[in-house]
């Protein structure tokens, strides 16, 4: 099986730089040795049977001023050292498990963004993409003291399961605001956003999990440098028989690091939403903080899920805490709203908005806030 | 029991920012001094530094109490010397009953090291509670947990009355109190006034000083004492505000 796949990968990557060809082939061969779990299985199975290796027609548009923005395979030719060193190495590790290895092996599109040291990119960079790639990968490298806002909106159009991977590598004192709101049409999909942060860097991540299909989400940051901070804010909705499994983790290695995770999710019908949040403070990471808050609002009796925040603390000079709650809409509030003339449905929608809005309101960009709220309302079937 | 502060400089440990830029003041035994001044100019930092709050570091100057050096002593030792700081934001200690804590603190600061007999303790406690018009259950509640702002301040005064310090430093004990509570708290402070008792009060408004008449009023601006005078200085400030001191601060000049 792998031999066949290997040949197909060789063909698909034949015009790419040698190093990339070798890496993809290696990933193909090694993949079956790597760990796999039941979340990965359906997708890995499908890809091995019907790998999608079509490449996008990559065209370079005019080069933006002050930073690099290229389709990923073109970047592989123009910036071989940068990509060779950083593509699926520091953040999303291609050797971590089978699905990651296959993601690299079957890579068929993506973007490379490089913001040089000191550059402050004022306009948000839109990683907007709508296409049939199954394995779409964004590599974002932000240099020391650089600042950038990234808005990722991938609309996968393939009915085969898709994996969208985004790596964010932040240099010393870099500052990144990252928004994400992806949609898919296949039944099962995978999303991974992983960051590596050097000293004093700041990553604010805002994710809207509004897609209508099964999803495994993997969000992670490694606070390696002293003084680095990561702030993850996520809102999600799961309806019908949707299953969303969301794994979030922040590792505090450096001194004075701060990892905050805030997740609010709404489940309806027979849907299931599981939030697993982990904060680990390694020994020596003095004066660090780790906080996770995972909350689930269940709108129907059959909707359900898990909220498991985990604290792994090896240092004592820390500030760590977590909170989780799973529960329904407050009946008193429902009653109050209805007594003022709202229908049950209207009241429910209002309360659902009220549950997710406090998190959305923390998105600093006005346009993105509005956009997310609109997506939320659309998702709830209100507009 | 004279408190002498000479050329005290202190900075915030974490940021390195210098807050106290050479404070000089003397509070002789038996006197009540009031420190006034605009917010953010070092009043709280001054009293916290005198009491050894770990976030601040002294970079120059000295503080002595009755001739004894204060700065080389731990927080505990300073309390046992007879100093008491009524805090602006008293910490909440869950699971520790108010009454148990007061008892233990009293026993810790007894000059002869012998614990106060139970009956005497309860009697004094009841008298103090009555004077401060505090509800009976205040002592059974956990130390400051769930106390309103006003309750916390009164609890500080309650502790002061029970611990009977030689020098009481009160950091904005009047903030958050309504008229009645203010009068009651003032009553508590006045109750302590003897020729052996000294007090240093930080107030923001002048009103407290109508009830607790100070012997001296000091004005602190930009980390230094820029003016001192008799009680009438308080009236002056009440009327004219700190405007003229703003100018002084901008010019970096002090009298």
């Amino acid at each position: 099986m792998n031999q066949e796949l290997l040949e197909q990968v060789q063909v698909a990557s034949q015009h790419q730089p040698a190093w990339l060809q070798q890496k993809r082939q290696l990933a193909t061969l090694r993949s079956t040795d790597l760990p796999i779990d039941h979340w990965q299985e359906p997708m890995v199975d499908c890809w091995q049977k019907r790998p999608n290796l079509t490449k996008t027609n990559e065209q370079v548009t005019t080069s933006p001023a002050g930073y690099v923005d290229l389709p990923i395979f073109i970047a592989a030719e123009q910036y071989p050292e940068l990509l060779q060193e950083n593509l699926m190495e520091k953040a999303i590790d291609w050797q971590a498990n089978q699905i990651n290895a296959l993601h690299l092996a079957l890579l068929n599109g993506g973007r490379f963004i490089y913001v040089p040291d000191g550059a402050v990119v004022k306009q948000p960079i839109e990683l907007a993409y709508s296409g049939t790639e199954c394995n779409y990968h964004n590599l974002v490298i932000v240099g020391a003291n650089a600042q950038v806002t990234i808005v990722e909106q991938v609309h996968a159009q393939n009915d085969q399961p898709s994996y969208v991977g985004t790596e964010l590598l932040l240099g010393d004192s870099a500052k990144v605001d990252y928004y994400q709101s992806n949609t898919f049409i296949a039944d099962h999909n995978w999303e991974s956003v992983r960051a590596y942060q050097a000293g004093d860097s700041l990553l604010n991540m805002y994710v809207a999990l509004f897609d209508r299909h099964h999803l495994v989400g993997d969000f992670h940051s490694n606070l390696d440098g002293d003084g680095s901070n990561a702030n993850f804010k996520m809102v999600g909705i799961a309806t019908h028989d949707q299953l969303q499994e969301i794994n979030t983790r922040i590792d505090n290695h450096g001194l004075h690091t701060d990892g905050e995770i805030l997740q609010n999710g709404v489940v309806k019908d027979q849907a299931v939403l599981n939030f697993h949040a982990v904060g680990k403070i390694y020994q020596g990471a003095h004066q660090s903080a780790s906080n996770q808050e995972s909350r689930l609002l269940t709108l129907t009796a059959e909707s359900h899920g898990e909220a498991d925040p985990v604290l792994l603390i090896e240092d004592n000079d820390v500030n760590a805490g977590h909170a989780a709650s799973i529960g329904q809409v407050n009946p008193d509030q429902l009653y109050y709203l209805q007594s003022r003339g709202l229908t049950l449905m209207e009241a429910e929608i209002l309360l659902t908005k009220g549950f997710l809005l406090p998190v959305i309101e923390k998105f600093p960009d006005q346009h993105l806030r509005e956009r997310t709220i609109n997506e939320l309302l659309e998702r709830l079937g209100v507009q | 029991m004279t408190l002498v502060v000479k050329n005290l400089h202190a900075k915030v440990k974490e940021s390195g920012e210098e807050i106290l830029k050479g404070v000089d003041l003397t509070v002789p035994t038996g006197e009540v001094h009031a420190i006034m001044g605009p917010n953010g100019n070092g009043k709280s930092t001054l009293v916290s530094t005198i009491m050894g709050y770990p976030a601040y570091e002294v970079t120059a100057g000295s503080v002595t109490f009755d001739g004894e050096d204060v700065l080389n002593k731990s927080v505990t030792e300073r309390a046992r010397m007879g100093m008491f700081l009524g805090m602006q934001y008293p910490a909440e200690i869950p699971g520790v009953k108010n009454v148990d804590f007061i008892r233990q603190a009293m026993n810790a600061t007894q000059p002869d090291g012998k614990p106060v007999p139970v009956m005497q303790f309860l009697q004094e406690l009841n008298e103090a509670k009555e004077l401060l018009q505090m509800p009976d259950d205040i002592t059974d509640r956990y130390l400051n947990v769930g106390f309103s702002g006003g309750e916390k301040k009164r609890n500080e005064v309650l502790q002061m009355m029970m611990l009977k310090p030689k020098l009481a430093i009160l950091d904005e004990i009047d903030s958050g109190l309504d008229i009645d509570a203010l009068r009651i708290v003032a009553n508590g402070i006045n109750h302590m006034r003897t020729p052996q008792f000294s007090a240093l009060l930080i107030t923001h408004y002048e009103r407290l000083l109508e009830y607790v008449k100070p012997d001296r009023v000091l004005v602190m601006v930009d980390g230094r004492v820029v003016q001192s005078g008799g009680p009438e200085l308080a009236d002056e400030l009440e009327e004219g505000g700190y405007a003229k001191f703003e100018q002084l601060r901008k010019d970096g000049v002090h009298e």
């Binding site: 269940t298 989780a324 | 709050y53 505990t76 008491f84």
Partner: protein, 473 residues
């Protein structure tokens, strides 16, 4: 210890004749010796004169045990060698140690805690029987008047086989975990309590009263049945350190609380730091019944204990209040609770407070599960940890899983060191840093101590006091 003393002690404490003879120059040797075989299990049952059904249960569990593996989570159990343990002991095996052999630290702790002389000898293993016969006799009379049965489990098998047979191993099955299987095969001693319908035991029943060498041991099996509308309070253990030669304590506790019944089970363990305390404690609460676990884990080498309540009847309520203290480099306290909601309108509360210092590890492993029948249920979990110094660590790993939407589940945790703000406040009122630290620690565990019978609370106070000494600076 001389041969003469040896002989005297054995003669004093044994109750029966030795079938294996008694040699002058060696200690009595029994065929069960070290290690576990099917013969050992049969021998244990034979010596106790057990009915066939109990032997069958043991053998079945033994075969189950052979198939099982050590748990794949939690503390390191690699140094525990199950083949080296002595699986059957008689009073004579508890060789009475002389007071001179008791470790100094233990003696000092007793001193500091003000433990009475008589108790010291017992706790230190220097006597095998606590002189409590008189007190116990009075208690026995009171209880029997109400129909409350309170005895060791061995005797209960003989005297009340119908009740025991009905409940034994129905809640904790041998295939649950390897130590449950082991316990079910070789159990000996433990407490049996039955409270008839409508009866309320006014005073707490204390395990202390029925302890003697015959029935303390590594594999105690406790069975408590609280019938409808009845209530009981059971207290076991003590705060003073208990020296145990046995390195493994794998007790199993099964509690059945029938409709509208109430049971509170309080345990305080302070094992010496050579002990692996791996217990399985499980309760089931029927309609409107209430089950409360109060658990204090003050010392051991490794503790793995997750008392659970199966809320099986509508309106049932489960509570867990626990503290864990991991004091020292070898100590690993892995504790928590499990609340399984299987019926509508059930509620559970878990409050867990842990402290670790000097390299100790305290981990919380909890589970709140609400299945498809748990409509209208609620759960509240609060677990806080204070890590007192740089060498210690703590993990908080909760699992919160609900299968229906009309419920309320809340969980909160905090991990930190002793608050500097709080320390400063207390010290500024004249307390030394040590006294201030003690006060904060006592305040931290106060929700637990206020649920203890007075004597325990006082002892716990003194113990923490002593443990905290020299903990500062």
């Amino acid at each position: 210890m001389s041969q003469e003393e040896d002989k005297k002690a054995i003669q004093k404490f044994s109750q029966e004749h030795y079938e294996y003879g008694f040699h002058d120059d060696v200690q009595p040797i029994f065929s069960t010796g070290i290690g576990l075989t099917e013969d050992t299990v049969r021998e244990i049952s034979r010596r106790k004169n057990e009915p066939q059904w109990m032997l069958d249960i043991r053998l079945n569990a033994y075969h189950q045990y052979l198939k099982m593996k050590l748990p794949d989570f939690g503390p390191d159990l690699s140094k525990l060698d199950l083949s080296q343990l002595r699986y059957f002991q008689r009073p004579t095996d508890h060789v009475a140690r002389s007071w001179a052999d008791v470790p100094e630290e233990m003696k000092t702790t007793f001193e500091k805690m003000g433990v009475p002389e008589a108790e010291r000898q017992y706790l230190a293993g220097a006597t095998a029987q606590y002189e409590s016969e008189v007190v116990y006799a009075n208690l026995k009379r009171d209880l029997s008047r109400h129909g409350i049965i309170f005895m060791d489990t061995d005797t209960a098998v003989q005297k009340y086989p119908e009740i025991v047979k009905k409940y034994f191993a129905t809640l904790v099955h041998p295939d649950d975990n390897i130590f449950a299987a082991l316990n079910t095969a070789v159990w000996s001693g433990g407490t049996f309590i039955y409270v008839p319908k409508g009866v309320h035991a006014d005073e707490p029943l204390q395990s202390f009263f029925r302890i003697n060498a015959e029935n303390t041991g590594q594999f105690e099996r406790t069975l408590i049945v609280v019938d409808e509308d009845a209530s009981v309070n059971y207290v076991e253990g003590c705060t003073a350190p208990v020296y145990s030669e046995d390195s493994l304590h794998a007790a199993v506790v099964e509690v059945f609380v029938k409709p509208r019944g109430f049971c509170r089970y309080t345990t305080i363990q302070n094992w010496s730091p050579n002990v692996y305390s791996l217990e399985t404690k499980r309760a089931v609460a029927d309609e409107n019944a209430v089950m409360e676990w109060v658990d204090g884990n003050l010392g051991s080498k490794v503790t793995m204990k997750y008392p659970s309540v199966y809320l099986r009847g509508r309106g049932a309520k489960g509570t867990m209040l626990s503290i864990a203290f991991a004091n020292g480099k070898v100590v690993d306290q892995d504790t928590g609770a499990r609340m399984i909601h299987q019926a509508p309108d059930t509620s559970s509360t878990i409050i867990s407070k842990s402290l670790c210092r000097a390299g100790g590890v305290c981990d919380y492993r909890g589970e709140v599960k609400m299945d498809e029948n748990a409509h209208g249920s609620s759960s509240h979990v609060e677990c806080d940890t204070i890590i007192m110094d740089d060498d210690s660590s703590s993990d908080t790993i909760p699992l919160n899983k609900v299968a229906v939407g009309d419920v309320a589940m809340e969980h909160e945790a905090k991990v930190s060191k002793v608050s500097e703000e709080e320390l400063y406040y207390l010290m500024s009122r004249g307390l030394s840093e040590e006294a201030a630290t003690k006060m904060i620690v006592m305040g931290f565990i106060e929700p637990f101590t206020k649920q203890l019978p007075m004597e325990y609370a006082v002892e716990l106070n003194r113990l923490i006091d002593f443990q905290m000494e020299g903990s500062v600076g």
